[in-house]
């Protein structure tokens, strides 16, 4: 059964059809890419899948549940996490605090416990701290846990954003241009990290990317979007030689 399934999805803004007849089917454990020229509607698709936008028409099913109309935080709580095209860290908070937020919706202690600082508050806070630090260790950011997020070098900020998303324990991870602004060496490291997190956290991943070496290198299947519709889908090899895709990119190196 598909983990994520979108059918006949479309989004119209006033006069602009940002996305139309978008259909996607991702089985658990797959690593799928979503590519297309700039302005094709890829981030809009992500926003539809995560509840940021409500679709004009169409259905989205995640893990057997219909998620259209749910708010973004509810979709996250169901098991979809994402990163953003322009990094959206909590810039003035510490690295550790950025990760701690991911545990928020799993916390059991309520308001009264916070006001009175009961033992359940202390216990869970200690757990959160421990889990967060351990998580940062996995991503090799633990030594920087008290640094302010905006002061990290760019590559580490991206890593932190991914770590934060994963701390929310999702089943499906959406990565929006994770390699943006990276040099070939960093992109290579990112590729290895993506393969590693998929295995380590038993994830299904959907990623938007412009860097073709990354896409071809890690994705098992690729969807190609142009002017808001899917124009092709298949394995990297199939996509490479698809004339419609080549035409859409107008001679870009694929």
């Amino acid at each position: 059964m598909a983990l994520l399934k979108a059918t006949k999805l479309s989004k119209v803004f006033g006069g602009l059809r940002a996305v139309s007849n978008f259909e996607i089917d991702i089985a658990p454990g797959q690593l799928v890419g979503l590519i297309g020229p700039n302005g094709a509607g890829k981030t809009t698709a992500f926003n539809l899948l995560t509840g940021v936008y409500e679709p004009t028409t169409g259905e989205i099913e995640f893990d057997g549940k219909n998620v259209v109309g749910l708010k973004p935080y509810q979709i996250t709580q169901l098991g979809i996490a994402r990163t953003f095209q322009n990094i959206r860290l909590f810039a003035d908070l510490s690295v550790l605090d950025n990760v701690k937020i991911a545990y928020h919706f799993h916390v059991k202690y309520g308001l009264l416990a916070s006001f009175l600082r009961t033992s359940s508050y202390h216990k869970e806070e200690a757990e959160i701290e421990e889990k967060a630090v351990r998580f940062l260790e996995i991503f090799k950011l633990a030594d920087k846990k008290d640094k302010i997020a905006k002061n990290l070098p760019y590559g580490e900020q991206r890593r932190l954003e991914i770590a934060r998303a994963l701390a929310a324990q999702p089943k499906l991870l959406l990565l929006d241009e994770p390699a943006a602004g990276m040099n070939p060496q960093e992109t290579q490291q990112l590729m290895e990290m993506i393969r590693w997190i998929k295995k380590e956290f038993n994830l299904t991943i959907l990623l938007i990317e412009h860097d073709m070496s990354l896409v071809m290198g890690v994705c098992e299947r690729i969807y190609v979007l142009d002017y808001g519709t899917i124009i092709a889908q298949g394995t990297p090899l199939e996509i490479k030689s698809n004339p419609r895709v080549i035409e859409a990119y107008l001679g870009e190196e694929v």
Partner: protein, 317 residues
């Protein structure tokens, strides 16, 4: 946890000492009536500033109608003591609940507005509350609500200041507080991390409003009278100034701001126009050269008190 209990006890002892010292000075008349009044005002302003900071500083919502909630607290508590003969504590709780309920009712629809629009909406709502009170004859209308017994004294004020700071600080240091702070930092990212942003914005707003109601109750029961003219936009702006001066996102900052500005107001009380001119010039200069205020979003910690610089930064519990 052991360390935390130690600091808790230290804090408690410090509070008792401060209370005893000031109360002693009051009882022996070392502190005259003018300064007694101002100490009460400082306490009330601390409660107002810290509660507003929860909304504006920690949750990043632009609320400039806080005086409206103060007014609701004042009037509801006055009705409970004067018309219903209830004890002071019940009146304070009633005032807090009334203000909190209104905060909830207002917050729910308006908190989807952002930035400037939210500011103007809260300004307008504060004014609407005041004008409505002005037209309710049951509570005195334009003449004000007179004959309120003076139940407020330093002990009440001190106790409630400690209570307010205790509750709000603990809220901030919990996962719920972190949720609010994440909304301030990046609302869309917070939502993407599973935080119900609407719930927390309304929650912060409601708690802030409730404490403003507490302050209003104390205010009404000190000055024998509650009048709509005490709860205009100028009052909201005064509170906002204290918060911004102290630093949005710093509780000790709000306390500092409240103390400083009440002090300045008291000293310049005989020159109202000069007070406002100095106030506004200081504000403009502050915004241009140090918009983060005195403490930014850091807290004064006992260890570094001597150096007057920030200590523990909020969020790293």
């Amino acid at each position: 946890m052991r360390a935390k209990t130690k600091t808790d006890i230290a804090g408690l002892v410090a509070c008792i000492l401060v209370y005893a010292a000031i109360q002693g000075l009051i009882l022996t008349e070392f502190i005259g009536p003018f300064w007694q009044l101002n100490i009460i005002l400082i306490g009330i302003n601390i409660i107002l500033a810290v509660s507003l900071n929860l909304i504006n500083g920690f949750t990043g919502q632009f609320s400039i109608g806080h005086a409206g909630f103060m007014a609701v607290g004042a009037y509801v508590s006055a009705v409970l003591t004067v018309k219903l003969q209830l004890p002071f504590l019940a009146a304070i709780v009633g005032g807090a609940l009334g203000a909190g309920a209104l905060g909830f009712a207002i917050g729910l629809p308006t908190l989807r507005l952002r930035g400037d629009y939210l500011a103007i909406a809260t300004l307008g709502l504060g004014e609407i509350i005041r004008i409505c009170i002005l037209n309710i004859q049951y509570v005195g209308g334009a003449s004000g609500f007179m004959g309120i017994p003076r139940y407020t004294d330093f002990t009440w004020v001190f106790a409630l200041v400690v209570f307010t700071v205790f509750v709000i600080k603990n809220f901030i240091d919990s996962t719920h507080g972190r949720a609010c702070i994440s909304i301030r930092e990046n609302e869309i990212a917070a939502e993407a991390m599973g935080v119900d942003t609407t719930k927390y914005k309304v929650l912060a707003f409601t708690i802030g409003a409730a404490f403003a109601g507490v302050a209003g109750s104390l205010f009404a029961h000190y000055f024998y009278i509650a009048h709509p003219a005490s709860f205009t936009f100028m009052r909201s702006f005064d509170i906002l100034t204290m918060v911004v001066l102290g630093g949005l996102g710093s509780i000790t900052g709000s306390i500092t701001g409240a103390v400083l500005l009440t002090f300045v107001s008291a000293t310049l009380a005989s020159y109202p126009e000069w007070r406002m001119i100095i106030y506004s010039v200081v504000l403009i200069i502050l915004m241009i050269y140090r918009p983060q205020g005195l403490l930014g979003n850091k807290e004064l910690s006992l260890k570094l008190l001597g150096r007057l610089t920030g200590g523990k930064k909020h969020g790293s519990a």
